[in-house]
């Protein structure tokens, strides 16, 4: 085999990047989060108002978000109130569906499971996938601690912070490096998801359980009451949806086939110039 002198190879080596544990839990979460989101919106629709505090104000106002419908001289309209600011959200929030036969629900049936109002089923689906989600997270933490994924790829180190401005600039100019390890921005994003967002959404979910509040009353104290916990649960959901959107955009920009292959087979094509190591494929 000969190579042209002085010219770098057109491709970097194929490296084994994702362990079976990372790949398996990744797809389990993808399925779980899909069902958790859509059944969660169904549950939210049963009382589409969020509050700050221990209880829901019916004779006082401690709401921060409220979705509903109002009657106007021009007929019913969907309305969303956020921090006292009211927006007309007809067609999306509060009132949606065909104009002749609209449904008056918080989130439209297209993004809830089931598509009709059914709190009982929303709860069945939510708790089933909640258990699987938590079990997968437990397995991932254990496996990633043992196989070094956590230390190598997730926990940010000093050089990740010093390298952050440069990495942000590279991302902004869409110069995406396919290296052996995650870039500083990647590490920080995954760190935020695994160490902030996932624990937060699980613990705020548990805070809504009157049984768990008896077992772990500190849940009520750290989140400032059951209704604040419910609001945080919703906000973290929004942040995870944003993460998902950015995640998909980055996969598409970075080369969807290579990225998908690494999350299915584990093998990942690195950028040209990446030094080979033992165990790589050419």
């Amino acid at each position: 085999m000969t190579e042209d002198e002085g010219l770098p190879p057109a491709k970097g080596p194929l490296i084994y990047r994702q362990s079976i544990w990372t790949r398996l839990t990744h797809w389990v979460w993808a399925i779980c989060l899909f069902f958790l989101l859509l059944s969660g919106l169904q549950i939210f629709n049963a009382h589409p108002t969020l509050y700050i505090g221990k209880q829901s104000g019916f004779e006082f106002d401690n709401s921060v978000l409220s979705i509903g419908a109002v009657n106007t001289p021009d007929g019913p309209r969907g309305q969303t109130t956020v921090f006292g600011q009211t927006f007309d959200t007809t067609g999306v929030l509060g009132m949606s569906g065909p104009a002749a036969n609209p449904s008056f629900v918080g989130f439209p049936g297209a993004v809830t499971i089931p598509s009709f109002r059914d709190l009982a089923t929303g709860r069945v689906v939510h708790f089933f996938f909640g258990w699987i989600f938590v079990a997968a997270l437990f397995i991932w933490f254990l496996a990633s601690f043992i196989n070094g994924h956590l230390r190598r790829d997730i926990l940010p180190k000093g050089r990740d912070f010093t390298g952050l401005p440069r990495d942000a600039l590279d991302h902004a100019r869409l110069r995406l490096h396919h290296g052996r390890t995650y870039s500083p921005l990647q590490k920080l994003s995954y760190f935020a998801v695994f160490f902030v967002l996932f624990p937060l959404i699980i613990l705020t979910g548990l805070t809504m359980s009157p049984g768990m509040d008896a077992a772990w009353p500190w849940l009520l104290d750290i989140f400032g009451g059951r209704q604040t916990a419910r609001t945080i649960h919703f906000v973290v959901m929004v942040l995870l949806v944003l993460f998902f959107v950015v995640h998909i955009i980055m996969v598409l920009l970075a080369g969807p086939l290579n990225e998908l292959r690494s999350m299915i087979t584990g093998w990942y094509r690195t950028s040209p110039g990446t030094p080979s190591e033992q165990g790589d494929k050419p």
Binding site: A46, Q55, F58, I113, F116, F127, D213
Partner: protein, 263 residues
């Protein structure tokens, strides 16, 4: 042999088409999960059994739900579900100011007993300011006064084989042409004997009003609102829930809600 070549452009077009068709069709492909008795739904429902077992293992039987300060009572207790029952029995009791009311303990007990409202009020009372959590998602803090259920059950003498309490109520939660459906629910004996489980006859320092379950409402403070039966008249000790209503242990449970109701 021709090779299927997927380049970036084809991949993008394909994923956009797939994604939008999924979004357009909405989530009605999962509507079958709403069918009670569907085998997939029944499999998913097993997670609720796991939740019940996990919480029973994790939470000590005597561990109390949080109690709040007087200053946290900022509003009246929000009524929900039945707020004004219309069964003949209840209307008669209501116009008689609940004088003829009796709470009966029956089923797997050594002796069936019943108490008038005055007798219940003369028993040792417990007052607790607790948070009522509705399955819909809202919460309301109120002060409940009543007599603990445990000692009342002991007076009847619960047989060792009894596993559940079934709570029978006066209210016709569902009114239809084929007749009324009366509210009922049930709990295990852990919840029945919990120190905060009281037969409440007082709310926020006043007599329990009709809209909140007069004359007697059971409080099970570590569970959701549908496990706090209003207009309670009979507690039946049983070892099997299937003979009652739809067989799932309660009105809402028969309608697909989980029996434990602790989350």
């Amino acid at each position: 042999m021709s090779r299927l070549i997927v380049n970036r452009r084809k991949f993008l077009v394909g994923s956009v088409a797939l994604g939008s068709s999924l979004a357009m069709s909405g989530c009605s492909q999962f509507d079958f999960l709403g069918q009670r008795g569907n085998p997939v739904r029944q499999a998913l429902e097993q997670a609720n059994v796991l939740t019940y077992r996990a919480q029973r293992a994790l939470i000590g039987d005597q561990v109390l739900a949080r109690e709040y300060a007087e200053s946290e009572i900022r509003q009246g207790q929000r009524p929900n579900g039945s707020t004004d029952p219309t069964t003949a029995e209840y209307l008669f009791l209501k116009q008689a100011n609940f004088e003829p009311y009796r709470l009966t303990i029956k089923g797997m007990v050594d002796r069936e007993i019943s108490f008038s409202l005055a007798e219940l009020r003369n028993m040792p009372a417990r007052t607790q300011i607790t948070r009522h959590d509705c399955v819909e998602g809202w919460s309301c803090i109120a002060k409940w006064t009543g007599t603990p259920l445990g000692p009342v059950l002991d007076q009847a003498g619960v047989k060792p084989a009894a596993r559940y309490c079934v709570y029978h109520c006066y209210d016709n939660i569902q009114r239809g042409l084929s007749g009324d459906i009366l509210y009922y629910t049930s709990s295990d004996l852990v919840d029945a004997y919990h120190p905060q489980t009281i037969l409440s006859y007082g709310l926020n320092d006043a007599v329990l009003p009709v809209s909140n379950g007069a004359p007697v409402r059971l409080r099970i403070e570590r569970a959701l609102g549908y496990k706090q039966p209003k207009y309670l008249h009979t507690i039946e000790l049983v070892d099997d829930l299937s003979p009652f209503g739809g067989g799932k242990g309660g009105y809402w449970e028969d309608n697909g809600y989980d029996w434990y109701g602790g989350i």
